[in-house]
């Protein structure tokens, strides 16, 4: 496991600015994690008020994104960072976009949860959704931890988990179609559940993206469209380049 040290800067003030923005990103991440958890709970427990609350609170995620974006623009304009520091700023700008999208998906889940709460609960009590929800929550948590620690190996682990999520998504899809054919009256309900699972799958993708930005931050390599195996072969356990002053 390799972490990158952000503390070597010519300008100490720039270091503080950078750390402050990173902390704001992680605070935004923490709030998004909570939104996701509460949205899934609202669905699984049939808590309509909680689902609505999640949907209402999403505006906070959007305003955090705007605020951090402004801060990054200011840093780019006043400090003109280069090399590793520039990578960090770029990665931050991309990360907050993905976090905001995760927030949007959580909002959708919350909204559907408040609707489904009034309907009849399925026999398995949303066990499948709970499971895939747990995996996805762990992915988001892992991606943000990797961001906090600048840990590329942990980011690779998150990317690995996304494959599992995609597989589960496909299997749930097949299952749901079977249910819908068996009982056409419940199609409305199953369609809603499919939207939820699709949102969860998208959240997994966003978490994987954040992992890719961490790898970019640490190694300076854009791995967004490289296959996972190639990335692992090249980067697993590698030493990060040290000393990134301009």
């Amino acid at each position: 496991m390799e972490t990158a040290d952000l503390s070597h800067h010519i300008s100490r003030r720039f270091n503080e600015d950078l750390e402050r923005v990173r902390s704001k990103v992680l605070a935004m991440g923490g709030f998004v994690e909570q939104q996701l958890q509460q949205a899934i709970n609202a669905l699984v427990e049939g808590d309509s008020a909680l689902g609505e609350a999640v949907a209402i609170e999403d505006f906070k995620v959007n305003s955090m994104e705007v605020s951090i974006d402004e801060e990054c623009s200011r840093i780019l304009a006043t400090r003109a960072p280069a090399a590793g520091d520039l990578r960090v700023i770029v990665a931050i700008i991309k990360t907050i976009t993905d976090l905001e999208r995760i927030g949007d998906e959580a909002e959708k889940i919350g909204y559907i949860a408040s609707r489904l709460a009034t309907m009849e609960r399925p026999a398995d009590k949303y066990r499948e959704i709970k499971h895939i929800g747990r995996v996805v929550s762990q992915m988001v948590h892992g991606a943000l931890d990797a961001f906090a620690r600048m840990d590329a190996d942990a980011a690779l682990d998150v990317a690995r988990q996304d494959r599992r999520v995609d597989e589960e998504y496909e299997s749930i899809q097949r299952q749901t179609i079977t249910f819908m054919l068996e009982d056409p009256r419940s199609i409305r309900r199953f369609l809603d559940m499919m939207w939820v699972v699709r949102s969860l799958e998208r959240i997994g993708d966003h978490a994987k993206n954040i992992g890719e930005y961490v790898i970019y931050m640490v190694y300076g390599k854009d791995v967004r469209h490289t296959s996972l195996d190639d990335v692992e072969r090249e980067f697993r356990g590698r030493q990060a380049p040290g000393g990134r002053t301009a």
């Binding site: 503390s7 902390s23 605070a27 923490g30 931890d145 840990d151």
Partner: protein, 453 residues
């Protein structure tokens, strides 16, 4: 000064001695001064050799096996060896002490994280690492709230109020709850205490569920009893001497119903964590309605006044605020004699909005005041049970105020009266109608001016 004289005399003696020896040796051969130079040169060489031996020893031997050197160099060497031995001894003792401390903190059942003034992690014990999923060396120097990202924790750190802990849900384990508390100490240093309170939270949840369920279950039987009692009391066939007991039974049944209603209200307030959002409440109208309610309700009317010093509305839940204020008013009415006076006041200042109920009643002794909001707490059991009430009124007030980010203040002088005040933060106070109209007018004037220009 003495040292210098000693040193000089030592050196002079040695040099003169060597010179004299050299003269003596050289004399028989007819070269006295050559002999003197030779001996002096030999003496100098000997000193330099000792010096370089010592230098080499210090550099390469690591303070073990000092060479045997005489004279001044020898005593310097001895001192160096002695100093070094003392240093090693102290270092060993220090390491032992550190290990003891580490062993004891590792054995602590709670987690401890040492933070600096910027909340960066300086050190943490094993339990903290387990509870918060921190990594041994990698996480040192990182801000603790970058890894513990629950929003409530971030707010707790920002607020700086560390009198009580904050309880958060574990990020990945659903059923785990952690209590985190910051303890400042030293200069700018802080300790973060982490405790697993999942068990307590589970017990709390079970207790709340029990209270809610039990209250619900008690409601229906009580309704039946009250119904029949009412029928019996209206039945003319019943002998008049039964009417007394029946009336008493009805009163007691009413009291039980009131207690159950309050218990249900309290458990409802406890179970919803989200603070009351809400609409703007016209406090003036509310106080007027409360005043009419109280005057109509109580059998012994007393003077009740309402003073509204501000038109600003209160942002919150109208039903909950009504309930809280009514409880305060009812208490004032219960403990004030008929010739007494009750005054309600609502005013707004820089610190926020304030509602106070002041009475000239029997007052409360100071030792009872901290416990007033406990459930079923009675200052004077005999008296208050006779006057009715559920004993839960102030507990309800406390919960409503908590949900509105407000605080309760009690001042009382036994025999003279009491004042109960609710303090709401500025975030809960809306703009008055006048202020809203004024700002609307300013906005309109702005657009007009822009249109004219």
């Amino acid at each position: 000064m003495v040292l210098a004289i000693q040193a000089i005399s030592y050196a002079v003696a040695r040099v003169l001695g060597a010179a004299a020896l050299g003269l003596l040796i050289g004399w028989p051969f007819g070269w006295p001064f050559a002999g003197m130079s030779l001996v002096l040169a030999a003496y100098l060489t000997w000193q330099l050799v000792n010096l370089s031996r010592m230098a080499w020893w210090v550099r390469h031997r690591g303070f073990a096996d000092p060479p045997d050197i005489g004279g001044a160099w020898g005593s310097v060497l001895t001192q160096i060896v002695r100093l070094h031995r003392r240093k090693r001894f102290h270092k060993r003792r220090f390491v032992q002490l550190l290990r003891q401390i580490q062993r004891s903190t590792a054995a602590l059942p709670d987690g401890v994280v040492i933070l600096d003034a910027a909340f960066e992690i300086v050190w943490f014990n094993r339990m903290a690492g387990e509870l918060l999923r921190l990594r041994r060396t990698a996480d040192l120097g990182l801000r603790v709230d970058n890894l513990v990202r629950q929003p409530e924790f971030g707010r707790y750190l920002a607020a700086g109020q560390y009198a009580s802990p904050v309880i958060i849900r574990h990020a990945t384990s659903e059923a785990v709850y952690l209590a985190l508390q910051v303890v400042p100490y030293g200069e700018g240093q802080q300790m973060l205490l982490v405790r697993d309170v999942s068990h307590q939270m589970l017990l709390e949840a079970m207790r709340k569920d029990f209270v809610a369920n039990a209250s619900h279950e008690l409601r229906s039987p009580l309704t039946v009893i009250s119904g029949y009692l009412e029928t019996l009391s209206l039945d003319p066939a019943f002998e008049s001497e039964m009417q007394g007991p029946i009336a008493e039974m009805r009163r007691q049944a009413e009291r039980m119903t009131a207690i159950i209603a309050d218990l249900l209200e309290l458990s409802r307030l406890e179970s919803t964590d989200v603070p009351a959002t809400g609409e703007p409440i016209d406090v003036g109208a509310l106080l007027g309605a409360l005043r009419r309610d109280v005057l109509a309700h109580e059998s012994r009317p007393r003077e009740v006044r309402a003073r509204i010093d501000s038109e600003a509305p209160l942002i919150g839940s109208e039903s909950e605020i009504h309930s809280a204020f009514f409880n305060l008013l009812e208490n004032a009415a219960k403990y004030t004699p008929p010739e007494g006076r009750i005054e309600m006041r609502w005013w707004v200042d820089a610190r926020g909005g304030h509602f106070a109920v002041e009475d000239t009643g029997i007052g409360i002794q100071s030792e009872h005041i901290p416990r007033l909001t406990e459930r079923f707490y009675r200052v004077d059991p005999g008296r208050s049970r006779a006057s009715g009430g559920s004993g839960l009124g102030l507990a309800i007030v406390k919960h409503v105020l908590q949900r509105h980010d407000a605080t309760l203040e009690v001042q009382s002088v036994p025999g003279e009266g009491s004042t109960f005040s609710c303090h709401f933060p500025p975030s809960r106070i809306g703009k008055t109608l006048a202020a809203r109209t004024a700002s609307a007018m300013i906005r309109a004037a702005g657009t007009d001016a822009a249109a004219d220009a």
